[in-house]
Symmetry: C2
Subunit: 358 residues, 2 copies
Amino acid sequence: MRTFTHGTLSDCGLVPMARKKTKTPTIKDVAAAAGVSTSTVGRVLGGYGYASPETRRRVMKAAKQLGYRPNAIARSLKTKQSRIIGFFLSSITNLFHARIAEGLQEVASSYGYNVVICCTGLNANRASAFGQMLLESQAAGVVFSVPGDEAVIRVAQSLLDNDIPVVTCHGSIRIPSQDRIVCDDFQGGYLAAKHLVELGHQRIGIIGVKDSGTSARRIQGAASFLKEHGIVPSRVSIVEVVSYSTESGYTGVKLLSARDEKPSAIIAANDLMALGVLECLEEMELRVPEDVSVIGFDDSFAEMTRPRLTTVALPMYEAGQVAAQLLLERIEGKDVGEERFITLPERLVVRESTTVYR
Amino acid sequence: MRTFTHGTLSDCGLVPMARKKTKTPTIKDVAAAAGVSTSTVGRVLGGYGYASPETRRRVMKAAKQLGYRPNAIARSLKTKQSRIIGFFLSSITNLFHARIAEGLQEVASSYGYNVVICCTGLNANRASAFGQMLLESQAAGVVFSVPGDEAVIRVAQSLLDNDIPVVTCHGSIRIPSQDRIVCDDFQGGYLAAKHLVELGHQRIGIIGVKDSGTSARRIQGAASFLKEHGIVPSRVSIVEVVSYSTESGYTGVKLLSARDEKPSAIIAANDLMALGVLECLEEMELRVPEDVSVIGFDDSFAEMTRPRLTTVALPMYEAGQVAAQLLLERIEGKDVGEERFITLPERLVVRESTTVYR
DNA sequence: GTACCATGTGTGAACGTTCTCATACATTAA
DNA sequence: TTAATGTATGAGAACGTTCACACATGGTAC
């Protein structure tokens, strides 16, 4: 009687029925269906060791028929390595990091690896929590694209202690003896200066950022070109401001115009600052590019300004790809020798904010 | 003799030594160190079941001393669920998606889950490859923030078939009977119109995008406010363009100025179009905001335009957080009933491109 | 005294894979 | 003939966890 009642309830749909139609098939099910052992299935599907063509065919067929999907977790448990790559960044809404992430992800997933984003923000605790997580989930490798504060270095070290390879990509972080990818700031500065000189500019203003290695290298690159090409040093004004911000760009122009030589062209340390430069020049009733040419760095939103900014574009997408490549070589245990240091070329993008000197 | 020789070689460092200082400790090691069984350790560390204070103390101490870290992979194998959340998006360099990703990640990681980015681009194959991967790695749940093409729907369905909960967040995608999060486009349009009317504008131009649900709802919202507040319908011009682009914004203004009533304020369907509007107005020698007020949508780069754009900001970060919340409730098996449909409020951000009508 | 509960602990079977080792047969070389 | 080699397959142990179950012990209720 009771049994009957239950049956009725269930039939009425009042009692939830088991939803899973059929348990996910495992390698065992495939083996049974193909009439072979699990190790044979493993050999066929894993593509290693011997298997007769006939067996191979039977296994393939059985796997297909059952809709077999290998369980990555079980594999990871055995191989002691998941196919997860961690990506440390401060914020993914930062276009730079997003571009790196995209390049990284593209290459990683073409190799069957997943990218886990670890947005640390400004919180040091968060970095170590992510480190913990990556350690626990047996991450295959990690890419760092963050400022190199102490907490992060500690995280990287603990990953390395657990034989998880680590690569840094852009950002001020420096992890001893690990692969590192950067953009060629010096060359970028060089390109900017070259562009302006080729347009006939001789009085050049450069707005750098204090205590920034990147900014310093860009200035060096620009200065180097100017020196090589006989631009009178006294006509080159270099000022330094405190941050990579629109306000700093604005301030930079003010500082430059206090100098004796008024520049006919200005190199700002990044696009955000270039925006401030445009604003200040407009206030001073100087037209861009007719009166003053302006050039930025980054190519972050240079398409959005009016006039559109000529800028030096950073190969962030490529940087992400290369980071993935280097990391994967380490992960797959290729003998690639010592730490590698890759410098990627920057690229000048000419838009509307620069023109020939008249 | 032979033994001796080997010993010598090894001692000389000619034979590579085992690099890992000490094998990562497992629950067994902790059990041995604490003098209890593995299940007791499990109970203490897992925080379930009985354990005497004394035992608890001993286990904790042993775990700490050994630097024990649970193996997430092994746990996942047993529980049949990893702590991975997949996030489908077309491109992470899109600020919207990046904001969603950040919100999602923040909540997910506070619950101990990892977010894997799945950038599908425009490639349908890629979507199914990601689906495959998530299935294989026993993902806990998935968030979709992509156009809802057929391939993606198929992926979502296969995830659902495997009892992996799915949530959609923004984007045109619609998965039957699954939780969905959207922004309140209608209210956004309403807010934009309200702002302009409160500034005294009576002749209002609206540039919408053909075949866009979002645009249609924004227009409805604006129209609704205008109607409610007695704005003469004939003074409201609505034009439709083909895409959300700068060029379309430009075209939109041309279309509007062909109408009888020249608007004193323009609502563009997004910031990119608003940029085109600014450009066209400048060409027509109309000043913004003195002659014409302009308002955009998205708050994507509204800070970068000159004048800075007044815009309706979309709560993408919050959307990501809510997506995580809903998804986690499903993952953790909370009884939250049927599909849920969350509409998040938009917010007006007043900057420089709107002013009182004179 | 028996029955029952609450508390505390250990045993050992899974989870689904990989991969070493053992086994078997066929072929070839000496 | 024997031995070695190549091909083909299977048995089963491990990976590190969780958790059902069994087994204690001591207390309380009848």
